[in-house]
């Protein structure tokens, strides 16, 4: 489970001007659920993720991840850019985040993501789509309780993005964890999520949420379009 409760997050400019980007931002992600955050650009989505990841600790509030059986904080991330070390091979990049650099499960993870043939490649030799998959493999390899995804399919062509989404679902279903994804692509959020959080305002907070009532395997193009319409309507009504 992931509980986020940020009372306030401000950025101070060098001229002494303070800008509040988040206020009274509070939400909970149930264990092993998939939640998406959708909102206009610059509304603090990535900032929220950075607070959750502990990369930004300068905020008022709390973020807690609790897992029933372990209690160990185990949080992992897929960044917007793959952030692979260019001087290490695919296999080394994934192995580095583990204490035991080559566990047997790694092969099944590489196989699931179609990366087995690329294990000895350097990141510069991969396409963006492949590099993103390596980044997914790295994030899943630590068996996280919470997985943070920051626009993991941005700047891919639609065909590749669709395939990557399927791969993500396949890997995520087999390795359950609490997933939180930021995206600006509403259809993508509908396709993947159990629940969608709408961010808006300045300073921003959760202005609305939408639970997708049907199972993932029943979400086809038409149902996604229908939900998209409903969510856009909800967004409009929230603005008023």
């Amino acid at each position: 489970m992931l509980e986020v409760d940020i009372a306030s997050k401000r950025f101070d400019s060098s001229e002494g001007v303070s800008l509040e980007v988040l206020r009274d931002l509070s939400f909970t992600c149930e264990s092993n659920s998939f939640t998406s955050i959708v909102g206009p650009s610059g509304c603090g989505k990535t900032t929220t993720l950075r607070c959750i990841l502990g990369l930004d600790t300068d905020f008022e509030g709390t973020v807690s991840t609790s897992q029933l059986n372990t209690g160990i904080e185990n949080i992992s991330a897929v960044f917007q850019e793959p952030r692979l070390l260019p001087w290490r091979t695919v296999e080394q990049n994934v192995g580095l985040v583990l204490n035991n650099p080559n566990p047997p499960e790694l092969t099944s993870l590489f196989t699931a993501l179609g990366l087995n043939e690329h294990r000895d490649f350097y990141p510069n030799e991969l396409s963006l789509g492949l590099a993103r998959r390596v980044s997914l493999a790295r994030a899943f390899s630590v068996k996280p309780a919470v997985l943070i995804l920051d626009e993991p399919f941005v700047s891919l062509d639609e065909e590749t993005a669709a395939r990557q989404r399927q791969l993500l679902m396949k890997v995520w279903s087999a390795r359950a964890c609490t997933a939180l994804m930021v995206t600006h692509n509403l259809s993508e959020a509908i396709e993947l999520s159990d629940r969608i959080l709408l961010f808006s305002g300045s300073p921003s907070s959760v202005s609305g949420e939408f639970t997708i009532p049907i199972k993932r395997e029943h979400r086809d193009r038409d149902t996604i379009a229908r939900f998209k319409g409903e969510i856009l309507e909800l967004q409009q009504s929230l603005k008023r």
Partner: protein, 254 residues
């Protein structure tokens, strides 16, 4: 590929050949003991090699170069990384770095000999002290421009200090290490000669001093050229292959 490689090689020989011809002409025109021709220098090299003197002194100098280089790179890199990562420490110690950067090599050597005695350790340390500020400045520049994205990734995945250093920081500093190495070796071997001239009883610097007193220019040039040749070998057989190896990941065949 081989054609592209052989053209510069031919040019290299042509260029060196032209230099030797020019030297011959100058020596022939000067007709002086002060400017021996290349053949006389070659003879001097053979003579020194036959007695074994050449290799003994060459070895002594090379050992000092290696020791001073390792010392300077190690200490300079550590300080450079620390100053590059901490603005406060950098502000405090930057004047020190600038001061040491501007102290003439000769002053450091003379003072070291006076304070710590005419011994081998002093000689090597004095050379290293001359080089350390240069290493600091180069590595500090690299450490300032480390990619924060990788540091964040390492933080999220709980990299240990050692893992961060070895897999994230040092690879990013590689071009700066290469730069410091290249300029370092060239500088260090020149300073080693001064150290030898002033306070050692062996090494290329000592021999040059000796033959200077004998006004034997051919032997002075003999030692110089042989040592330059050794440094060229180090560059081509050690530094360049090492650099190529450490840059292997940059290639792209996707």
């Amino acid at each position: 590929m081989s054609q592209r490689k052989s053209a510069p090689l031919a040019l290299w020989f042509l260029s060196i050949g032209a230099l030797i011809v020019l030297w011959f002409l100058c020596a022939w025109y000067a007709q002086s003991r002060a400017l021996p021709n290349p053949l006389q220098v070659a003879n001097a090299i053979m003579a020194e090699a036959r007695t074994g003197e050449l290799f003994f002194h060459l070895g002594a100098t090379l050992a000092r170069v290696v020791a001073a280089f390792v010392l300077a790179m190690t200490i300079g890199s550590v300080i450079g990384i620390v100053l590059g990562r901490s603005d406060t420490l950098n502000m405090i110690f930057d004047p020190w770095v600038i001061l040491f950067l501007n102290i003439p090599a000769l002053v450091v050597i003379v003072l070291s000999y006076i304070w710590f005695g005419l011994n081998e350790v002093t000689a090597v340390v004095a050379v290293a002290v001359n080089k350390i500020p240069n290493v600091i400045v180069t590595i500090r520049e690299g450490a300032k421009s480390l990619e924060p994205q990788f540091a964040e990734m390492a933080q999220v995945f709980h990299f240990s200090k050692w893992k961060l250093m070895r897999h994230v920081v040092i690879p990013q500093l590689q071009p700066y290490f290469a730069g410091a190495t290249r300029s370092g070796i060239a500088l260090i071997w020149k300073i080693v000669l001064v150290v030898e001239l002033l306070g050692r009883s062996n090494g290329v610097g000592f021999q040059i001093h000796l033959y200077f007193q004998l006004f034997d220019v051919a032997t002075i040039l003999a030692y110089t050229l042989v040592f330059v040749a050794v440094m060229l070998l180090v560059e081509y057989l050690l530094l360049q292959p090492l650099e190529k190896y450490s840059r292997r990941w940059r290639g792209s065949h996707a």
